[in-house]
Every structure is written in C-alpha cells, then in structure tokens.
Symmetry: C2
Amino acid sequence: MATGRTHRPATRSRGIPEATVARLPLYLRALTALSERSVPTVSSEELAAAAGVNSAKLRKDFSYLGSYGTRGVGYDVEYLVYQISRELGLTQDWPVVIVGIGNLGAALANYGGFASRGFRVAALIDADPSMAGKPVAGIPVQHTDDLEKIIDENGVSIGVIATPAGAAQQVCDRLVAAGVTSILNFAPTVLSVPDGVDVRKVDLSIELQILAFHEQRKAGEEASPDGSGPAAAPKDTSGQGPDGDVPAVMPA
Amino acid sequence: MATGRTHRPATRSRGIPEATVARLPLYLRALTALSERSVPTVSSEELAAAAGVNSAKLRKDFSYLGSYGTRGVGYDVEYLVYQISRELGLTQDWPVVIVGIGNLGAALANYGGFASRGFRVAALIDADPSMAGKPVAGIPVQHTDDLEKIIDENGVSIGVIATPAGAAQQVCDRLVAAGVTSILNFAPTVLSVPDGVDVRKVDLSIELQILAFHEQRKAGEEASPDGSGPAAAPKDTSGQGPDGDVPAVMPA
DNA sequence: ATGTCTTTGTGAACGCGTGCACAAAGATGG
DNA sequence: CCATCTTTGTGCACGCGTTCACAAAGACAT
C-alpha cells in the first residue's frame, strides 16, 4: 500500500471501503488478462491467486459492488470487467496533464499504461522555454504559462506532477486553482491542498527506505544472540555486516 | 502498555508497526530540511504539520523508537535525524541494481534521490545487447547475462525492476536466486516470491484508477447531496447507468 | 523551592480491514 | 424432482492503526 489517504470517511455514498477501491485495479488487470485469453468464467479462488490476494477478501470486495457471481460457478469475466471498469470510472475518458517533462515526466508520457485504460495525455507542460514545442512521446511540450488555459480547454481534472520538489507546491496550487481536483504527485514533497482535492503520492526514496528497514532487520536477526526471535539457520555470509555504530549522518 | 517497556534496549525494538515504518522516511525528510536550516529543536506539532500527519500519531510513532523528546521543549532535530536514519538502516550503504533501462529505468538512474540517502546505484542491467556499455546517468549498462555475477560481486540485496510486465517475473526470479531479498517493482505485474523476500510495488495505472474512482464519485455527488440512510444498497440498482452496456475491454 | 506553562508519552476507546467458517444458492446428475 | 456438489456471500471475531485526552515531565520565571 502506498501513501496515506485523505482523512475523510465521506466514502459513505457507495460504502466501498478505500482498501477495496485500491484493489479493484488489481482485479481488473487480472480479469483483463483472462478476457484476452477468452476465459469465460473464473472462481474467486483462481482470480484471487492471479491478483495475489486472499479469496475471502476478494469475495468480500466484490460483495460491495453487488452480487455479480454465480454460486457453484464463479464470476463471468466479461461482465466483471465491465462492472469494475464502470465502478472505477474507466468507461469515460479522463484527460490528464503531466507537468514537469524531465526524465521522469518523459518516461510517464511514454508509458503505455496511460492510454490503455481510459486515460489520455491531454498535454505535457514544462517550465523550460527551450522545451516548448519539442515533441515528447508524440506530444508537443507546452509552456507553464499556458497551464490554466490548457486545463480549462481540455476539461482536465487529473494532474500529474513530475517536477523537482521545489516547484511541486506551486504547480499544485496552480493546477488546483485551474480546476484540477485529483493529483498524482511524484515529487518528494508533502503537498497541501484544499478539501475536496485528492492527492496520491509516489515516492521512490520512501519505498527504498522502507525496504532498507526490513533488509536491515533481516540482516540483524541472523547474528543477533538476542533471546527471542527465530534462532534461524545461518544463511549469513553476508560479509557486508561490519555495521557497528558508524555515524554517517547523510546529506540532503 | 501491554508489551513491556522498551526503556531498556532502545536499540532494536522489533515491535515497530509497519504503518510507523512507512512514515519514518516522511519525518526524516522534514527533519533534514529543518536541519539544513539549522533549526535546533522542533515540537511534535510543527513537525507533524511539515510531514502532513497528525501530531498524536507522530508522537506515538516516535514512542516506538524510544523517548527522544524533551517535554516542554520538543525534539532535538539532529539527534532525531540520526536516530531515524539508524532505525531505517540508512547509516550504511545499500548497493542497488536497476533492471530494465528503458524510459523509466533511465529516469530512475538519473534520480537524485538514490545517492542522497544511503543508496548507491551499483549497476544498470538491460536485456538489449545494443544497450551494453552505453552509459546512462554516467553508469555503463550491463547485459542481463551477467546479472548473477553483478549481484554477487557487489553484494546487492535490493533490486529495482523497471522492465516490461512480461519480463518482470523472470527477472525477479533471477534476482532472488542470486541473493536479492528486497525488490521494488515498477512493472504492472504481481510478483510471486519466496518467504523472506520483500516486494514493494509502484504502479502508475493503479494510482490513476484510484484517483478516477474518487473523481467520478465527486462528480456524481453533486446531484443528490442526501447520503443519509446508508441502507447499504449494493444490490443491483445499476439502472442509472449513463451508458448502455458496452463492455469496454481494453488492451494490456 | 515552588509555581506555572509547555509539550511529551501513552492509556483507552474506537473504527477499519482481514480472514475464518459456514449457510445459502445455484449447477449438475440421476 | 431430489440428492449432491461446488462456490458464493457474509456474520463474526480478532488485531492493527488512529485519535482523543490527560497525567507526567521538564523548562523557566520568580
């Protein structure tokens, strides 16, 4: 799971738990793969395995959407694909703008995952004047000055921020002021937005640090003569465990 | 305090909740910024605001690390930076390999967030022979054939997968077999790994779909602001669909 | 010292998410 | 039509995470 979410339980309208919503795309992906192989139906057990979750959890998730399964048989793949797509709002077209066309922004623009599922890159925006007009992924980059106009003319409600951290909040403010109400933030900054605007963040270094924590814990448990814990088998030989208490406070 | 006092060890408390671990990098980032501005101490309230969380949550998070604050004053910034860094395992160097040097992989290689906090890009690996030797972000790309050797010689335990979905599982298997125990997966696939291996995934299209869900809900709420009597009506009731029944199936 | 003021650290309550276990629903076969 | 078998849908219990609210701890002034 990534990122904290909004602190608002206003999801009572449909009653679909946030955790369930976060898994729907996973199910959809697995179902789409089945659909391409022309598999007509699938059981909760099979689908759960494909999505990497517990089958009871999957069934409960689907129960929030309605009773779309047939007992003794399973779920109709095509029908479920449609229902989930509709629930997620993928039956309509979502124009998206990407702000900040550096290495990451360009990679995102080229990413196929956008167009394939109801999302359309409406525009690429960058603050560098020398980028203007230059095509990236077949789309000409436009200058930040025209941000508001672009948002307005294309009816954009979802924005992707791929700028340096320093510019993120400012870009965010402009996006919101122009009418964007959902933001996907790749910049390593906490964005503050007014109520009603959703922000999800993708942060590489946070993910790595979490992995490092667990990695350290794994390494420390092998040698630790500590009473509790699994005095597990010596897989050791990690060699690189001089550890000790090296100071090494890191820079920026 | 059910689970005994942690006053004694203060070094390795294996009882740090996962949710807390996920927030430590956030605190660390905010603290580092304060440190650079030479701010000596900070209150839980201020730091919480900077990190975008609740102050009570932050205090509880820190309580798992030990009692590093001073009542009536707050937390010593430098000390806390060090403690969190140590807890996350950032006081040591983590060599990382990136597999799949396409648009995304190249962007990741160029990302400054790597080197800045204890992580070092040890190698870039790609399956395309024509990429071999070609430098990306100052590091020559190596061929997949040498994957095992690279992992071994550099003592790599963290791998980043930025390949197409189709190659992800295979690359994952080889990484794990070679000794990698933590994986950051950018490919839109569910990876299956043996016990003891951590996997975190970053998935653009899932994030977008979650945003789309909320976006759709916002748009649909304008008409009927009622919402009272959440009689949990997950049953049918779909008759309100704006569209017909087009099974918008989409490609991968 | 003593009192006041600030801020931490945490007990306790609450709510959400997860997983078990099973009854109900429907398919299938005789 | 009845029996049996498969698989869904869900009631329930449990554990984690969040939040409130406050006593304890220390700083600081007198």
